[in-house]
């Protein structure tokens, strides 16, 4: 039977035979495209457990595949390949290889929480997206994505000083993601702003970037947070079966 919805099948799984006769019926040519037969044997039975062990992924087992998450998703409206319901399905079945195919887009979740709002089963799909992106990174399937670098820089400032300073954050983020700070649109933005910003405010902003705003008496909080972060990291690595010698699959 010809396949009408070819767009739903990956090109490498489509077979067209130039010359093929089955039971005396000639099925050669384009009209009778076949799908590559597939037997899945490499289910990763630990996949769901691993995602559930990462922050945000805890409730993945509750999903009943209604699709409310994908239906309400901000990013899905821009890119139909961004499909939280499908990824949750793959994780629950343990189809790791299929999941890893989308490793370049899963991090793009914008945390708008429309999915969490719509989910009738309290899966917290937003959290699952973050956990999955983190899993891909920890397992070494992807490099650190820009959003993860931003999270790290932001959090490092908060943990160290109790507050953040946007100028420094921007500078560090652009340096670590190897983007030039003087992008056309940023220059234009600065030009528009500084053409009318009074001197006092400019001085204040300059002051803030020289003398980082901080929370007083933060030292003990900083130490407490550092201990906790180390604890969490050790636990994650244990559950994910990482031996402490860096990411591996």
């Amino acid at each position: 039977m010809p396949i009408h919805e070819k767009s739903l099948i990956r090109p490498e799984n489509l077979i067209t035979h130039e010359e093929l006769v089955i039971d005396e019926v000639n099925v050669s040519g384009h009209w009778s495209t076949f799908i590559q037969p597939r037997v899945v044997t490499d289910y990763d039975e630990r996949l769901q457990e691993e995602i559930a062990a990462l922050p945000g992924g805890e409730n993945i087992h509750r999903c009943w595949q209604c699709g409310s998450c994908t239906n309400s998703c901000t990013v899905n409206a821009i890119n139909p390949d961004f499909n939280p319901r499908y990824w949750i399905y793959l994780i629950r079945l343990g189809m790791k290889e299929e999941l890893v195919r989308d490793k370049e887009i899963i991090w793009q979740c914008v945390s708008c929480n429309k999915c969490t709002y719509a989910c009738p089963r309290d899966v917290n799909p937003e959290g699952v997206m973050k956990a999955t992106a983190r899993w891909l990174e920890l397992k070494g399937y992807t490099e650190k994505k820009p959003s993860a670098i931003f999270d790290e820089e932001f959090s490092a400032q908060v943990f160290a000083k109790g507050r953040i300073e946007e100028g420094r954050l921007l500078q560090r983020f652009f340096a670590r993601t190897r983007q030039k700070l003087l992008q056309d649109w940023l220059v234009e933005l600065a030009r528009r702003l500084f053409s009318r910003l009074p001197l006092m405010l400019m001085m204040k902003l300059g002051w803030a970037s020289l003398f980082h705003p901080r929370t007083r008496g933060w030292r003990k909080a900083r130490a407490a947070i550092a201990d906790y972060v180390a604890e969490c990291e050790a636990m994650e690595r244990q559950v994910l079966g990482l031996n402490g010698k860096g990411p591996s699959s």
Binding site: P55, G56, T74, I78, Q108, V110, S111, C112, N113, K114, T116, Y117, G127, K130, R134, K145, P146, S147, A148, I149, F150, D151, E152, F154, S155, Q157, V158, G162, R163, I164, E165, E166, F173, T177, D184, W185, E188, L189, R192, L193, R196, L197, P198, L201, L205, A208, P213, T215, R216, G217, W218, K220, A221, A223, A224, I225, D227, Y228, V229, C232
Partner: protein, 305 residues
């Protein structure tokens, strides 16, 4: 109507890119005779970033701020930033419902040398909720000196003011309460100040704020949609109530113009700036010149500021 002073939690953004929001909120409170006392020695709420390292750290950061409010003797803490507000509400929810969160916060608070916050002792309000409660539409109407009459406004609330629903138990409680699917507190206040609110279907759509720099193409697309829709709805101005949304709209309006060649002319103002001007404050006093989106000519033409 209650006029008791509240603890004011500005947060990091209001001391940086969202300075105009800080300034206009304080000026507005002043003009309305409402007391604000800044939370002493507050810390960052963790915004949308710390939770990706570990959500319980975000709970701790917000719990510390709530504990300060408790210690200062305030039963209400008010935050103008959606991120700060959301995180305080999230912490309150988690500390009420999740035992592990309680344990982590108690442990970290002890190590950090301060009292752990006890869930239920402090009420978190967004500046919108605070104004509705403390002054209300009628109170505002009585004080309007310079009506926003004829100004067409699209009210934009963003994500964190209403989502996820479960951390806002006081919303969706019928008439008088805020709605999470179609919020209206800002619409109510601006209408009381004379503005003509347009029917804006993207009130709670996302601006891509979490990835405004790390995935700027996505953010530009989302913002451009917000801007062009506001224009199609006939809005002169998009009123905002979140510094991340506000700067996201401003930045990506410029980026859409420079990178995609899509120019939009709708102006972006904090709702506190609009209310301040309606009460007779000057545009400068509410920090209109600090915005990237330059609305001075429009305001002047309408006899505002």
């Amino acid at each position: 109507m209650t006029n008791r002073p509240v603890a004011y939690y500005p947060g990091c953004a209001l001391e940086g890119t969202g300075h105009a929001y800080h300034r206009s909120t304080k000026e507005l409170a002043n003009a309305l005779g409402l007391g604000l006392v800044e939370l002493e020695n507050w810390n960052c709420c963790g915004a949308m970033e710390v939770k990706n390292i570990d959500p319980k750290l975000q709970t701790y950061l917000s719990a510390r701020n709530l504990a300060i409010s408790e210690k200062m003797g305030f039963e209400t803490v008010m935050a103008p930033c959606n991120g700060c507000y959301h995180n305080l509400k999230k912490a309150e929810y988690d500390l009420t419902h999740d035992k592990t969160s309680q344990e982590v916060v108690e442990r970290l608070s002890k190590k950090a040398g301060h009292a752990a916050y006890r869930a239920g002792s402090v009420r978190t309000l967004h500046v919108l909720e605070w104004l509705k409660e403390a002054i209300g539409e009628e109170g505002l109407k009585a004080r309007v000196k310079n009506s926003l009459k004829g100004l067409k406004v699209a009210n934009y609330y963003g994500c964190m003011y209403t989502r996820p629903r479960h951390i806002f138990p006081e919303k969706d409680k019928g008439p008088g309460s805020e709605s999470t699917s179609k919020p209206h507190f800002m619409d109510d206040l601006l209408a009381a100040a004379g503005a003509e609110n347009v029917e804006y279907p993207l009130k709670t759509a996302c601006c891509g704020g979490a990835h405004t720099l790390s995935d700027s193409d996505t953010s530009t697309k989302l913002v451009l949609n917000l801007l062009t829709t506001a224009e199609a709805c006939g809005a002169d101005v998009i009123a905002t109530e979140c510094p991340t949304c506000h700067s996201g709209l401003e930045m990506h309006q410029v980026r859409a113009e420079k990178v995609l060649g899509r120019k939009t002319t709708v102006k972006i103002l904090y709702f506190t700036q609009l209310l301040g001007m309606a009460l007779g404050l000057s545009a400068r006093k509410v920090g209109v010149h600090e915005n990237i989106s330059d609305s001075r000519a429009l305001l002047k033409a309408r006899g505002l500021g």
